[in-house]
Symmetry: C2
Subunit: 209 residues, 2 copies
């Protein structure tokens, strides 16, 4: 069996994916090599080759990779061509923004259900998605079988929701609540920390002062 | 003058920062070395040492870094202890969610103004922040002098807003709109792609199938 690559390798693969998509959109070059990727992405070339080697043999020595071919292989590895069913827990401002986010649909990510505890929201449809009572999540998720759940609740209830999702056999969770969550090892959790996104900018402003 | 470290180094520094904060919160160890960081974060130890060496001499050979000391130095480098003034362009669901996001205030990121084109929103206060007419942004930003602007508008108008912000001498922009933006080289732009956040999860689900 293949050795499991660490998260950071998958994160870099996603960077390569976005970069290759841009190259192909802009028609830059039919072939690409690790030195070029390295210069553009500021990642050592040997690390790029090592990252790709996790997933088999790519390209030809001295020639590089076919851009289209490499893109297709990375899309396969990352599973971005397959359709995935998502649910959103918490339909406040952030949850609603995520329901409206066009980038999900463009990437085969289909939101099939939303959950909230507010009776004014339950039973309504938002962006074509029904908002269900979060208390009835177990029964509904048994029927719908979502692949990925997004937590967009207040931080105070996020762990409770994560526990309920694990009980419902959801195996991948994207957490937007500013809370440290704990899930069993068989469940994949990713947390988005919006403050961290700003750190690159504060560094830049500091360095420029 | 110091060589400018590439973005990805700053990104990794932010990872080290969050990891050290956790270590210190959980009282793990008074000293820490690059091998330990490497194991925990899946980044080669020599890369961690190289990343830090951009910013001077850290730690002692064979002993490692004092956790508190390293944390303080990274906080200094990244400028996260300084207060920064932010504005938010677009007060739809995402903009409102960002106005309510507690993580910003905890990290010295103060939202001082919001802008929208909807006359029902202009003049109102949301989370203690006044929503101004986005058409009047130049005059208001001249007076307030924000450090960082967040774009949370629809994709279709995001470039126009970015251009206006550059005109207003804003030098750092965090873009949440799913649009490729162009800014002059002296302006730092970071775009958050929410679909990319999900790629780690789709990979995990693929690999487990």
């Amino acid at each position: 069996m293949m050795k499991t690559p660490p998260d950071i390798v998958i994160h870099r693969l996603a960077l390569y994916l976005r970069f290759l998509e841009d190259c192909i959109r802009e028609n830059t070059s039919a072939t690409i090599n690790s030195q070029y990727l390295s210069r553009k992405l500021h990642i050592p070339a040997h690390q790029i080759r090592k990252d790709l080697s996790f997933f088999g043999k790519f390209g030809a020595a001295g020639i590089g990779y076919g851009s289209q071919d490499l893109l297709k292989k990375i899309r396969d590895i990352l599973g971005v061509d397959k359709p995935w069913d998502l649910c959103i827990c918490g339909v406040g401002n952030l949850g609603t923004a995520l329901l409206m986010y066009k980038g999900f649909r463009e990437n085969n990510l289909n939101i099939v259900a939303a959950f909230d505890s507010d009776i004014r929201k339950i039973g309504r449809r938002k962006q074509g998605v029904t908002v269900y009572d979060i208390g009835k999540m177990p029964g509904i998720l048994k029927r719908l079988r979502v692949d990925i759940a997004i937590i967009a609740t207040p931080a105070a209830v996020a762990q409770e929701i994560a526990d309920a999702l694990v009980e419902c056999r959801v195996r991948a969770i994207l957490n937007f609540a500013p809370a440290k969550l704990t899930v069993p090892a068989h469940v994949k959790l990713r947390s988005v920390d919006l403050s961290t996104e700003l750190i690159n900018l504060t560094y830049f402003l500091c360095a420029a002062r």
